[in-house]
């Protein structure tokens, strides 16, 4: 008897349980997820970030009179861009959308834009609280969904800190150069060699890479990392003085600054660190100026990976307020390391021949 009663109850309730299903999802910022980090907004950006709410009818009944309400966190300003769906409005910190009907299995989406806060002191989380009410054959239902985003502070104070650190690095480099008479150790020929190799990296190969980087598709960065590694190994083998790599990459950036107008003056110290790392490795390997293929590869991989790491994990968030998806950024660092490996191996062979021809 009990079993029959349960069965009757199930028969009565099952259709209702299965019928009305409205699934809510959200994407913000509305950017390529393969490149940019999801659910992270940067305070202080000058533009509105787009968000998209996606509604899917996962049931087997048509839904009517869907009313969606999105509570926007942190009192962010809202704009409604022109879009296919028309019944969307924004009021204070709320976005409201009305959808006439949504068939079984169908999806519909709408977009709105929010202006991240001008400034926040610390990284904080914000929640987009989305609620929806809708009707089907069995009555009125409601559902809700909360989408959490992370709002990171405008990196201005980080930026100021990194500018200060950059200046400190430059001052430190000058101090070391002055204290140990580093520049005096370089002969005229050494300096001319460094200037020309820096010109090749900063002018010729930078132009070549920028112009033809799509030739290798996602591996386009190799067009720059390989020649840079080759020329760095040549510089190390020919000049053979402590500080060669630091001087080389400092001059590369100076040349790029003047020729291409790269706006990197305040970051110069950080660019110098690409060379400082290699020079430290040279000292650690007991003044091995890429005399073995293995050390040439180690130096080149270290420089390339570090340069790309700096770009994706330091300059992008701190200077350009862009957060790349971690796997994408690490993928690029990996490709750079491969470029260093190839460039180091090739550079060793070329450097040996060049050195043989010159000395």
């Amino acid at each position: 008897m009990k079993l029959i009663a349960i069965l009757v109850l199930l028969i009565f309730f099952l259709p209702q349980l299965a019928a009305a299903e409205l699934e809510i999802g959200m994407d913000i910022p509305l950017k390529n997820k393969e490149i940019y980090q999801e659910n992270r907004l940067v305070a202080g950006v000058s533009w509105y970030e787009r968000g998209q709410v996606v509604l899917t009818n996962t049931g087997d009944e048509k839904l009517h009179n869907i009313l969606v309400s999105v509570d926007v966190p942190l009192q962010m300003d809202i704009e409604i861009p022109v879009q296919a769906m028309k019944n969307i409005s924004a009021d204070n910190n709320n976005v409201t959308a009305r959808i006439g009907e949504l068939g079984p299995g169908e999806s519909i989406s709408f977009i709105f834009s929010v202006k991240p806060p001008e400034s926040i002191e610390f990284k904080k989380k914000g929640s987009f609280a989305i609620s929806a009410s809708y009707e089907d054959g069995t009555g009125t239902h409601s559902t809700s969904y909360t989408h959490v985003v992370e709002v990171v502070p405008p990196p201005s104070w980080i930026t100021y800190g990194t500018v200060l650190a950059s200046i400190c690095i430059i001052l430190l480099a000058f101090l070391v150069a002055w204290k140990f008479n580093v520049l005096e150790a370089f002969t005229t020929i050494d300096l001319v060699t460094i200037a020309l190799l820096a010109g090749l990296i900063g002018v010729v190969f930078r132009w070549f890479w920028q112009t033809f980087n799509d030739l290798l598709g996602p591996l386009g960065g190799l067009l720059f990392t390989i020649p840079t590694a080759v020329l760095m190994i040549i510089a190390l083998q020919i000049v053979r003085k402590p500080g060669t790599a630091t001087l080389l990459f400092t001059v590369v950036e100076l040349v790029a600054l003047v020729v291409w107008g790269s706006n990197i003056t305040v970051w110069m110290g950080w660019y110098m660190t690409e060379g400082i790392i290699v020079d430290i490795l040279v000292l650690l390997f007991r003044k091995d100026y890429a005399d073995r293929r293995s050390t040439a590869i180690i130096y080149a991989v270290a420089r390339s990976a570090y340069a790309y790491w700096m770009f994706y994990f330091f300059f992008a968030p701190a200077v350009w307020k862009v957060y790349y998806a971690p796997w994408y950024a690490w993928g690029e660092v990996g490709i750079a390391a491969i470029g260093g490996l190839i460039g180091g191996a090739i550079g060793y062979s070329i450097a040996k021949k060049v050195r043989g021809a010159m000395m």
Partner: protein
């Protein structure tokens, strides 16, 4: 000391060779279309560099479109790249060669889409092949006819002019040629700028009147600024002009300037005049690249010969 002086001298040789050509300084803005119409001009678009693929933008248009041009500015053009534009689901085919290209591959694909648009909501989507680049935006300029509206004089200027510190190009000017009667009710200027930076202060003038500072500051999306300006009080009686001043921007690319002036009284028959499109200047091998290569070769030969 002598050798350091020589080192610095060599470094100074490089900038002498530079002219900032990269892929050229681009195409200065010029009037592609102008006319007089009972109706108006629609300018809209968005929404910055996002690397979305497809990149979609919506346009809610009036009826009776008489002339329409669609602009797809794209970052990082390289040989072999293409875009494919679809309007309301209909593909317009692939475009490989951009119409204007400048600097580090900042380019603009321009399509005449007069017959492709419908009254009401239009969906424009762009798919693309560009491994390391993407569209900055989709912008539509459409001239529509509405006999109930006053007569409007309009100019549509397009191009892609790389104003940059390196090439010492500090401003761009567009002159909207033609006489304007004294009685005008509304005048609107639209400007579209790519690659402006917040805090690097550029300026925009209309007939020498300052409209705004730091106009290019990525406010309409990453690296994208589309603005409309009420210039009614500044309209002159002939040859009105807009002036983009680079100011503190390292690079900035004016792409469009559109002016519409509404008349109080009809000034003659309606017409639309389409001007020939300017050829995008070809890519140059920058002089700095050539010079560094030549000096490097001479130095290598010198070193090898001095050993012998």
């Amino acid at each position: 000391m002598k050798k350091i002086a020589l080192f610095i001298s060599i470094l100074l040789l490089v900038p002498l060779a530079s002219a900032g050509e990269w892929r050229g300084d681009g195409t200065p803005l010029y009037t592609i279309a102008e006319g007089r119409i009972h109706g108006g001009v629609y300018v809209g678009g968005g929404h910055g560099l996002t690397y979305e693929d497809p990149y979609v933008e919506y346009f809610d248009l009036p009826g009776n479109i008489e002339y329409a041009r669609l602009y797809v500015p794209v970052w990082n053009y390289n040989e072999g790249d293409w875009i494919e534009v679809s309007i309301n689901g209909k593909s317009l085919g692939r475009s490989s060669e951009p119409d204007y290209v400048a600097a580090w591959g900042i380019c603009d694909y321009v399509l005449n889409v007069t017959d492709e648009l419908s009254p009401g909501m239009n969906t424009v989507s762009v798919t693309y092949h560009n491994t390391n680049g993407a569209p900055y935006s989709i912008v539509l300029v459409a001239v529509y006819n509405d006999t109930t509206m006053p007569q409007t004089r309009f100019w549509i200027a397009e191009g892609n002019h790389a104003l940059s510190q390196t090439s010492k190009i500090d401003h761009a000017e567009v002159i909207f040629k033609g006489d304007i009667p004294k009685g005008t009710t509304n005048a609107t200027l639209w400007s579209m700028i790519i690659a402006g930076n917040e805090g690097e202060i550029d300026k925009l003038y209309f007939n020498s009147n300052l409209l705004g500072e730091d106009v290019g500051r990525r406010k309409s999306g990453a690296y994208f600024d589309l603005d409309s300006w009420d210039v009614t009080e500044f309209v002159g009686t002939a040859n009105n002009s807009v002036w983009f001043e680079r100011g503190g921007e390292t690079y900035i690319h004016p792409f469009n300037a559109v002016l519409s002036i509404e008349f109080m009284e009809d000034q003659g028959d309606d017409y639309i005049e389409i001007h020939p499109m300017a050829e995008s200047e070809g890519e140059n091998l920058p002089r700095a690249v050539v010079m560094v290569l030549v000096v490097s070769m001479i130095f290598l030969i010198y070193r090898v010969r001095s050993k012998k």
